[in-house]
């Protein structure tokens, strides 16, 4: 039993990087499970920033200077974010009579 475990341990955890990776995974999992709800906005921001970084990279490959491409993608994100917010906020706050479907108004 002990020998099997030792062999398994030596096989998978004998390298420094494997230990680091394991620690990273465990810490990340614990943080996500314990503080996931508190950190939700941070996580959302990280995901959105990652996606917009992709847009910035595309712009840079098209020959736009690096800083300008980051600035452009940031502006694009802020514009899109507040546009969506505005549209949905307007749709939710508006009285149903004016923006509702036609059949509801005709009654």
């Amino acid at each position: 039993m002990r020998e099997v475990l030792t062999r398994w341990y030596q096989r998978y955890l004998s390298e420094e990087e494997a230990v680091i990776l394991l620690m990273l995974l465990v810490v990340a999992l614990v943080v996500m499970l314990m503080f996931g709800e508190i950190l939700a906005p941070v996580l959302v921001a990280v995901i959105l920033a990652y996606l917009m970084q992709g847009v910035a990279n595309v712009l840079r490959h098209r020959g736009v200077p690096a800083e300008l491409s980051v600035a452009l993608s940031t502006l694009l994100f802020l514009g899109g974010f507040f546009a969506v917010l505005f549209v949905f906020g307007a749709a939710r706050l508006a009285p149903v009579g004016r923006f509702g479907p036609r059949s509801a108004r005709d009654d």
């Binding site: 030596q10 096989r11 998978y12 004998s14 390298e15 420094e16 990087e17 494997a18 680091i20 990776l21 995974l25 499970l33 996931g36 906005p41 941070v42 959302v44 921001a45 990280v46 959105l48 920033a49 990652y50 996606l51 917009m52 970084q53 992709g54 910035a56 980051v70 993608s73 940031t74 994100f77 802020l78 974010f81 507040f82 917010l85 479907p101 036609r102 059949s103 009654d107």
Partner: protein, 249 residues
């Protein structure tokens, strides 16, 4: 919609006197009305108690763009701070990171394009048939493609219901549903193979398990990110160093 449903109910005993008596329908409508009143009460109390969470939502709406801005602007600084905790030479971590980056980029780009195409296409179809709530339904159908397997089925229900309550069982209803089914078939058989030909090669069973697992863990968000998280797991498993593989390579 509720009004239409009530009308259908009232006419039921006239059209099918064999199956429904007037009294049954009256009892049913009374029960529904009582139910609706209690739902209204719940909504009001919920509305009052949700004021703190609304404030939190407003704070988030300011915080999230701010953080996105800083993450984009100071990316190198932040990544450098995080990388400072790791050793200088990390070929394994670098390899995993590169593979994940590639997979995520492919996945995000593919899904983004798919959401856009399916959402716009179904909105146009709904608008052509002047279906109610065309924009909202189009948005729903667009985002449903993010949820694997289940999304398309779930979003079919509201589409069918709105179409039924608006048109009844008429040729219009069949046209809308037919066009919707055509969109879904094209999505599954043309768009997905085109967009994800090389990207995510996970077995369907693995995807189902990932949806169940992460959905159970984090609810709707878990379902949304089930496929990226499953790729994370598979990349780590395949790249995990073992002394065997080191000896070979």
């Amino acid at each position: 919609m509720i009004e239409a449903g009530r009308k259908v109910l009232v006419t039921l005993p006239e059209e099918y006197p064999v199956f429904f008596t007037q009294q049954q329908v009256n009892e049913l409508t009374a029960a529904i009305q009582a139910e609706m009143a209690s739902v209204g009460q719940i909504l009001v109390t919920k509305g009052l108690s949700s004021i703190p969470s609304m404030l939190a939502a407003i704070v988030y709406l300011i915080l999230i763009p701010l953080m996105v801005f800083f993450f984009l602007k100071d990316r190198e600084q932040l990544v450098g701070w995080f990388g400072g905790f790791l050793p200088e030479k990390k070929p394994l971590l670098d390899r995993i990171w590169e593979e994940l980056n590639l997979q995520f980029a492919n996945y995000a780009r593919g899904k983004g394009i798919e959401v856009l195409i399916i959402g716009v296409a179904s909105y146009l179809v709904f608008a052509v048939f002047s279906l109610n709530y065309a924009a909202l339904l189009g948005l729903l159908v667009g985002f449903s493609v993010i949820v694997p397997f289940i999304g398309a089925m779930l979003v079919t229900i509201p589409v069918m219901m709105v179409a039924y309550f608006q048109f009844g069982v008429t040729p219009d209803f069949y046209w809308v549903v037919g066009a919707y089914v055509v969109i879904q078939i094209l999505d599954g058989n043309v768009l997905v193979p085109l967009l994800f030909s090389e990207a995510v090669n996970l077995h369907p069973v693995a995807i189902v398990i990932a949806v169940l697992f992460f959905g159970g863990l984090w609810g709707l968000w878990g379902v949304f990110f089930a496929i990226p998280l499953a790729t994370l797991v598979s990349a780590i498993l395949s790249a995990w160093p073992s002394s065997d593989s080191l000896a070979v390579s």
